[in-house]
């Protein structure tokens, strides 16, 4: 076992997902199996192989610097869980800006 419930809890925090104790106990061994079998990739991923990030070799796709109409504010905010003064309202933030 390389992935403990504690590891899963730490990852869940990083991913901002609350997990119940039951979920943690169920997930940890499942994830462990998945990750162990995925470790297979390192068998052939030798230093001389270049990684592929994009399936097709396109480069330099640009748009011209032209202004396009924005959304009406009402549309932008229509789906907001809370809004105030044409802004999205969010609960108080504890952490500082990056």
């Amino acid at each position: 076992m390389t992935l403990t419930p504690d590891d899963v809890a730490r990852l869940a925090r990083l991913a901002r997902i609350d997990l119940t104790v039951e979920e943690l106990t169920k997930l940890a061994p499942q994830l462990d199996v998945i990750i162990a079998s995925n470790r297979l990739v390192s068998e052939v991923a030798t230093a001389d192989v270049t990684p592929t990030s994009h399936p097709l070799p396109l480069t330099n796709v640009f748009r011209s610097d032209e202004v396009v109409a924005s959304l009406p504010v009402a549309d932008a905010l229509a789906m907001a869980p809370a809004a105030e003064e044409d802004r999205f309202r969010v609960p108080r933030i504890l952490e500082e800006e990056q």
Binding site: L3, I17, D18, E23, V44, S53, P55
Partner: protein, 512 residues
């Protein structure tokens, strides 16, 4: 009349509409009625858009009456996977998180469907955020396989495949990240094509894994799939990864079905152990038919396909962990715990904990792990290298063969609930379909019969090089022609006319 409409292919409806033998309103009404009648059993749809569909049908009928030039599919109804943004209807992606989210914009695919005069009946069920191979991961309950309602219709696009297979729509749009169009097509006896990556715009398609996702057609015939493919494909300046080149001649290829002189490569790694007997039997029979149609069979080896599943289940979770970060309850979507006592951080975590299902959580956590510092090289970095090796396998194989073939899935449709607690067993459904997503090439699944042991459909997968999507259709059409000559119809016709398909209400006896 109604059953005739339901049994008709999109191509047939197209000519009947053009000839004035039927109106779009009649066609749309017949399909809405079919949905009302049987979708309680199948559960292919998450939402219906009857009012707007009928309005559009009236509009198309009026335009036709006024002599306006209309596209070939104008007035033909379609089911849209609930992962494409469509104004005026929720786009849920099968998730609680987005249960009430109505996008303020249309996906490029949605817009092109409308421009082509296709009429969207509603949105179809799917595994949450397209994560799954059975549609059991939908937050709104599973979709049932029209062949056997106790079985899965495949996934993630089980709703789209089931809608087409149960005559609730002649066409549907799906998306395919690791097989989500092809695997449901295989297990429902329908046609599903994943175009070349970049062939169909991803703008407005809610991303699962950006470098793998691709929208594509679901249909009951090869020609129908090609017609839909042509309607939605082509360069889109809103998608940086969209290919700036003309759409391959897929409709012509589907009409021709000429495989004479074509070299068809059988991938030796995709078969054998773990493959259901009936799947292999039908697959091998299909090869014989293709050979009879003039194709030359060659054996090819793609040794790195053995690593595809492992690479896929690192790349996909990594990309999805990032793509799904935006569902943080701040701007839209489910918000839990905003009672003035909890911080934004707490509300984010609580909302994501409550809004995401088990499989989504599983993959986000794996992806977070695969990208985290100290593990990147071993996992994500290595998986991207495997991707290179698989691409090179394809390149070598395509030097020897014009297309590659394999079974689409190792097994036929399994029972609902059978694999839900065994993620690894579930993941193996996608063994054959994943390599094409990793490499970005075109790939489709075509019915090749029913497995003798369970009477369930088997799919044959055709893989072609990037931007050679037409070859996929050429082979699919050849197979369809040869098999129909033997059966006197498609695989789906066999369902419609069987006792198992009685509930569909479209048997020939009923028609006649």
């Amino acid at each position: 009349m109604s059953a005739d409409i339901l049994r008709a292919t999109a191509a047939e409806l197209s000519s009947e509409l053009a000839a004035g033998n039927v109106s779009s309103v009649e066609v749309v009404t017949a399909h809405l009625d079919q949905i009302t009648r049987i979708d309680e059993d199948v559960h292919a749809f998450l939402s219906l858009d009857a009012g707007r569909a009928l309005d559009r049908a009236r509009h198309i009928d009026a335009a036709r009456a006024a002599g306006e030039a209309l596209g070939p599919l104008a007035g033909v109804p379609l089911a849209l996977k609930d992962v494409f943004a469509y104004r005026g209807l929720p786009t849920t992606c099968g998730s609680r998180t987005l249960e009430n989210w109505v996008p303020p914009y249309d996906a490029t695919v949605t817009r092109r469907l409308a421009d082509a005069g296709l009429i969207i009946l509603g949105k179809t069920n799917m595994d949450e955020f397209a994560m799954g191979s059975s549609t059991e991961n939908s937050a709104f309950g599973p979709t049932h396989n029209p062949w056997d309602l106790d079985r899965i219709p495949g996934g993630s696009g089980g709703g789209s495949a089931a809608a087409v297979a149960s005559f609730m729509a002649p066409l549907a749009m799906g998306t395919d990240t690791g097989g989500s169009i092809r695997q449901p097509a295989a297990v429902t006896g329908t046609v599903g094509v994943k175009p070349t990556y970049g062939g169909v715009s991803r703008f407005g398609l809610v991303a699962l894994a950006s470098s793998l996702d691709q929208g594509g057609p679901c249909a009951r015939t090869v020609l129908d799939a090609a017609l839909l493919h042509e309607a939605v494909a082509g360069h889109d300046p809103r998608d940086s990864t969209s290919i700036p080149a003309p759409v391959p001649p897929v409709v012509a290829a589907a009409r021709s079905g000429d495989v004479s002189g074509m070299r068809i490569g059988v991938v030796s790694e995709l078969g054998g152990e773990g493959y259901q007997d009936g799947v292999e039997v039908r697959f091998n029979e299909a090869l014989v038919l293709l050979q009879k149609a003039g194709a030359e069979l060659v054996e090819v080896s793609c040794p790195h396909f053995a690593y595809a599943l492992a690479a896929y289940y690192l790349i996909l979770p990594a990309e999805c962990s990032s793509n799904l970060a935006r569902f943080d309850a701040m701007r839209y979507g489910l918000r839990i715990g905003d009672d003035g006592t909890h911080s934004a951080e707490e509300v984010m975590s609580a909302s994501r904990g409550a809004g995401f299902g088990e499989e989504v959580k599983r993959r986000i956590i794996i992806g977070t792990y695969a990208l985290s510092s100290g593990y990147y090289d071993a996992y994500y970095g290595s998986a991207q290298k495997v991707r290179t090796l698989i691409r090179q396998d394809f390149e070598r194989a395509f030097a020897e063969a014009d297309v590659l073939v394999s079974p689409t899935t190792p097994t036929t449709a399994f029972r609902i609930g059978e694999r839900i607690d065994d993620p690894m067993a579930m993941y193996k459904n996608d063994l054959c379909t994943i390599p094409s997503n990793l490499a970005g090439n075109a790939s489709g699944s075509f019915p090749c019969g029913l497995a003798p042991e369970d009477g369930l459909p088997v799919g044959l997968q055709v893989m072609a090089p990037a931007m050679a999507d037409d070859r996929v259709y050429r082979v699919g059409a050849a197979l369809e022609r040869e098999l129909s000559a033997i059966w006197g119809g498609t695989v789906i016709d066999q369902l419609a006319d069987s006792t198992a398909g009685d509930y569909l209400g479209v048997s020939r006896e009923g028609v006649l």
